[in-house]
């Protein structure tokens, strides 16, 4: 989606605010927001791509106003209601509906180390690559209303495949629970001048990791 989250190349966002000796969490609630998201993910009612899309679907003014873990909290509320784990009434009331059954937590403290082992997004399935290292490619001029990981600033631009990373889950379909559609992901090098014109340094480049479906031969 052409959302405000797709920020590459935007102006006017101000100076970078650097905090020296920044703590991992600035307050207990930030750690709690992080942990609630991780713990609720274990119910497997959504996936990583759907959860990223959840943040992208926050109203743009809210997205820009909210701090990082406020966004995580709002996204979790959205996914909880959409998945049916919590009803909108329960969220508004802050308590379970009378008589609703009580679950057993999907994640216990003993299972936290196992959760930390991660979940590869690569897939060991035979899918032929459409492109190869050294090949000239163009990122499609596409504007899907749903989730995509092809940033606007690269659409329609020509680059060169630097390397093939192998086969990965395709976020555009996976985020909407339409299947994993595994396909190759490539590191594609774009000259900075191709992306930004003559103002960029002729030596510089931007590398993006792009799925097969985002590319065409050029």
């Amino acid at each position: 989606m052409n959302g405000v989250h797709d920020m590459g190349g935007m102006h006017g966002m101000g100076p970078i605010e650097y905090e020296k000796d920044e703590p991992v969490f600035h307050a207990r609630w930030e750690g709690l927001a992080f942990a609630l998201n991780r713990a609720m993910g274990v119910w497997a009612k959504w996936n990583l791509d759907a959860s990223r899309h959840g943040i992208e679907r926050l109203p743009p003014a809210e997205y820009l106003r909210m701090s990082y873990y406020e966004k995580w909290t709002a996204r979790l509320e959205l996914l909880l209601v959409e998945s049916g784990l919590v009803t909108a009434e329960e969220l508004a009331a802050g308590m379970p509906a009378p008589g609703s059954p009580k679950a057993l937590p999907a994640l216990t403290a003993e299972k936290v180390p196992a959760l930390g082992k991660g979940r590869p997004a690569s897939r060991d399935v035979p899918v032929a690559p459409r492109f190869h290292a050294g090949q000239s490619v163009r990122a499609l001029n596409m504007h899907p209303a749903g989730h995509t990981r092809l940033p606007r600033y690269a659409r329609g631009k020509q680059g060169t495949v630097d390397r093939d990373h192998g086969v990965f889950v395709f976020p555009d379909t996976n985020a909407r629970f339409l299947g994993e559609k595994p396909q190759h992901v490539y590191s594609v090098r774009f000259a900075a001048c191709e992306l930004w014109g003559g103002q960029a340094s002729p030596r510089d480049s931007v590398y993006l990791d792009l799925w097969d479906d985002y590319l065409e031969p050029a």
Partner: protein
Amino acid sequence: MDARAAREHEHDHAHQAVPSDPALRVKALESLLVEKGLVDRAALDALIDTYQHKIGPRNGARVVARAWVDPAYKRRLLANATAAIAEFGYGGSQGEHMVVVENGPQVHNVVVCTLCSCYPWSVLGLPPVWYKSAPYRSRAVIDPRGVLREFGLDLPEEVEVRVWDSTAELRYLVLPERPPGTESLSEDELAALVTRDSMVGVAKVSA
């Protein structure tokens, strides 16, 4: 309340944009999820403790220091970063697919995620606020040299800048240049010099 009124009531809630105190909002959500049996408080504490105390940029610093002193390790790291990093026991969430890019006199690499906040948790921990913020995400790709100057790093024009936008599930760690005058330092002493910022590519390591 009839069904239609209830739907409209729900609609109002879904679209209300009244900022509430985030601490209260999260606490309320935690209570609700605990009450429903969906989360376990001990698991939440264990998650917070893991990312606050066990995973952080000291992991990445050890990888970098090893690469500086052990050429065979450095080759393995650049060829298959995920496997080489796993030699230290580091891996897992947001480190499942690692790539290491090497800085040198002619090339400077810097990492960003323009679309969200992708970051190599397994070696750097959770990202700092500036990395997740609009100013860095918007400008790192269009004006990397200006961004680096803001961090106090003024690169000569003849140095090539490579920006890595983490658009997929690959996570990038920058292998910074070993600073001159550190020939006599041990691996542990070298690791102590390596900063988080140098492994994102917004700083150099100084002795």
